[in-house]
Symmetry: C3
Subunit: 348 residues, 3 copies
């Protein structure tokens, strides 16, 4: 009996199946430093213990995207080792903050399966739950992936496609982690713009571009203990359609969010992921740019509101002209809610 894991194929998944994923990981200040070095993130809430203490916390929490990638990474050996494509995300919510020293693990439930008409692949829908060492749910999200069949002759399952909301309604948003009350230091945070300053429909160019190296995305993807082969094996990838290693989509999301600091410095905390789509792959040597559109606004408690933001990333073309998802160089559409302080919570 082989002792290596070759991953599950489409016909191995069935609705209701529960997968308890391997390798719990304790997130530490080491992971945080690497995340900064790999993304250039500058959101003050995640960079400074002192700043977080102003928001009634004991110290800086861990960036929700680092939490997301860590939980996601756990699921790869079970869910997507034989995936053709990561198709989408829905109804993701960050339900409790994570601090250095917390240990994360993940479970997934299969909530949908649908064979494709080619008979060689199918779509698997899973709801993944991330938990901390106390068993508290810290993250929940749905994703769907296209997975190869091991045996094309395996019979197609009864199709089950879950009914997924287009976005997380404002009333379902988690409470922001920090509480601000006339003590949010906008100068330290890097922007004077609060909740009231953003208009629905407004677009923001994040200006800067960042070129990605093979070593950088490999380091990041290994830090997340994500084992998907397409990111690491240049030898096999040379024979693939793209001819080279693909950069993990989570790396793209984090780089775009890091660029988004320039314009959205106060919208530090991601509360929910409404949806996301990796339109095209990013490769080493490419330069990533990003812009954002304000899709919606909602009042929250703790001196904050929430912005629903659509983050668009492109490669090798500046975002200055706001290239849309149909632009040939668009690579990412990421729809999320972020908390942002009210102007009344801010001090100059």
């Amino acid at each position: 009996m082989t002792k290596s894991n070759s991953g599950l194929f489409f016909e191995h998944f069935h609705v209701g199946m529960m997968l308890r994923h391997a390798t719990p990981k304790t997130l530490t200040e080491g992971d945080v430093a690497l995340y900064t070095a790999l993304t250039g993130s500058r959101y003050a809430l995640y960079s400074s213990d002192a700043f977080a203490r102003d928001g009634d916390l004991d110290g800086a929490p861990i960036d929700p995207l680092l939490v997301f990638h860590t939980v996601f990474g756990k699921t790869v050996p079970d869910i997507s080792l034989n995936a053709v494509a990561n198709l989408g995300y829905a109804y993701g919510r960050f339900l409790a903050p994570v601090f250095p020293g917390d240990t994360l693990c993940a479970i997934s439930e299969v909530i949908g399966v649908k064979e494709n008409t080619d008979g060689k692949t199918g779509i698997v829908y899973v709801r993944t739950t991330g938990l901390n060492q106390h068993g508290e749910v810290i993250l929940s999200y749905v994703r769907w992936v296209m997975v190869n069949k091991a045996d094309p002759a395996a019979p197609a399952p009864k199709p089950v496609v879950p009914d997924l909301p287009d976005y997380v309604p404002a009333e379902d948003l988690p409470t922001p982690t920090p509480a601000w009350s006339k003590n949010y230091d906008q100068q330290l945070a890097g922007s004077p713009f609060g909740f009231e300053d953003f208009q629905i429909g407004e677009c923001i160019d994040h200006i800067d571009g960042m070129t990605v190296e093979e070593a950088e995305h490999q380091l990041a993807t290994r830090l997340y203990q994500n084992t998907a082969k397409v990111h690491f094996n240049a030898l096999v990838q040379a024979q693939s359609r793209h001819g080279k290693r693909l950069i993990y989509g989570g790396v793209v999301i984090s780089l775009a969010r890091s660029l988004a600091f320039n314009g959205l410095a106060n919208a530090a905390e991601i509360l929910a992921i409404n949806g996301g789509r990796h339109i095209k792959p990013l490769f080493a040597g490419d330069t990533i740019y990003a812009w954002s559109e304000v899709l919606d606004k909602a009042m929250l408690n703790q001196g904050q509101g929430a912005l629903r933001l659509r983050l668009i990333a492109t490669k090798n073309v500046s975002a200055h002209a706001y290239p849309g998802v149909d632009h040939p160089d668009a690579i990412l559409e990421f729809d999320y809610w972020a908390a942002i302080p009210l102007r009344s919570s801010m001090v100059d």
Copy 2:
């Protein structure tokens, strides 16, 4: 008098010489995060404080290979700055666990010298001891290296070749660090296979391949404070036989062990190094694969047994066909003992 260190040459070593190495290093959660990012290691014992606490520990210990590379790194400026080749290891034992916050230093005793017939080089044998801040021995091993002579006319010393065991006998193995008793969570660990499931002679293909970049091996080797010139100086190496930078052998060992998770997830803790051989160099751009053979088995205490494993790494060729040490693309043979829980220590 020059204040820079050019390292010792063969004629400077004599049997009985004691070398107390410089730059003690405190290993921290930062080193652990980098080790994960650089290798992709996923062994639960070293990834999760919560998992380690199930094994009666206060938190996750530090991966023995990170300990080994750190101790080894200390010895380089004294032992192998002028080495032609790192020839082998013997009788390595991890005698006490290392936890974040511990400070390691190293001493070496020269236990053998033998000039080569060419008169230009010789072999130096050292026993290196790693100690923590309390003076406890945490690691002991023998290695031998081929070192250049500064002056070819220097007389050959009386040859002394230590009698080294082929492997660490089972009765000399250290006690495993965690203690398991019906509480080893095989799902979190990533494999259902315990001590009883492995047969002597069994071979395991670790399947995945990983392509290495210059930045990655340089970061790793600097993290270990290993200063051997051949890893860092492209300008000088362009004039060498290989024409490029060599990857430190410890990087190769760690990458192969990280790949070995897929099949040996429960054999997390390396207790002893029986021997090792860097058959050929690995270069940036190469893709490393690995497979393992079970050489022997031994019962231990603490709910565990030990597997004696031979780890073979290749470059640019899959390990699927179990290429042996004589295969033209074999680069590493590494013989070690690892602890593995008994099935009776495991819960589903």
Copy 3:
């Protein structure tokens, strides 16, 4: 109103202007591990808690250069986003040690402006102060940069050029952080040479060379949260005079100081920066070498003296022949004071 920051241009600066910089950063053991991996630094004081405790400290402080780059990084979005060149540093003093867990922020005062005769650029002088979470000044230095004008027609300001000392006089040097008294372990530190062993005028070749990769300098510069575009955007830089990304000058300083361990292992603590000049840019693929000259000596307290050192770095040429600042391959001149134990503070 645009919410992105495009940085200040020359005509926006005026003498007396105070800039409070964004994104405080808590320095942790994660940053320390990355700094070691990125530079190869081996100074025992910054590598080992146990060694630092011998010097009456609670644990290892953070390398002053990591502190410098972190404070410097904070200033970039306000001071030098539109800089043409970083021209120089003066009167930098490390006024209090920084330990893991401390949070740094920075403020700058504009102390000089002078338009260039071309009418398109000008020189801005700032005094930057780094503070910890208690509001204590941990670092103060002056730097001047050449900054583009947004509008060439903007009138030239009245020129103000501050009177800057050529170096920090010995009587202005801060007290060294550790206190040594017959307990400085020279073997662990890596060199037997104390204060008395260095002569004014003496030159030291640091021997080794290190080749730099794109991923390495980008990781370092992002770790310092330095956002200067020229380091990250290959697409835009391809159109620049150099045709490629420039390596942040702070990376050059740190690599040269790391190489300087070989010869100056006991001169670990930088107390003051007298001046510095980035003579030529370093690019990925280049190999950096370094040598030092002892410019001056001064007695201090705490069992130590100070050496005033001039550190010269070159690219792609060994420092063996002590290439001077006029050598075509010289890239850095860095003039600083470092503490070094007296021989009477050392034990063998």
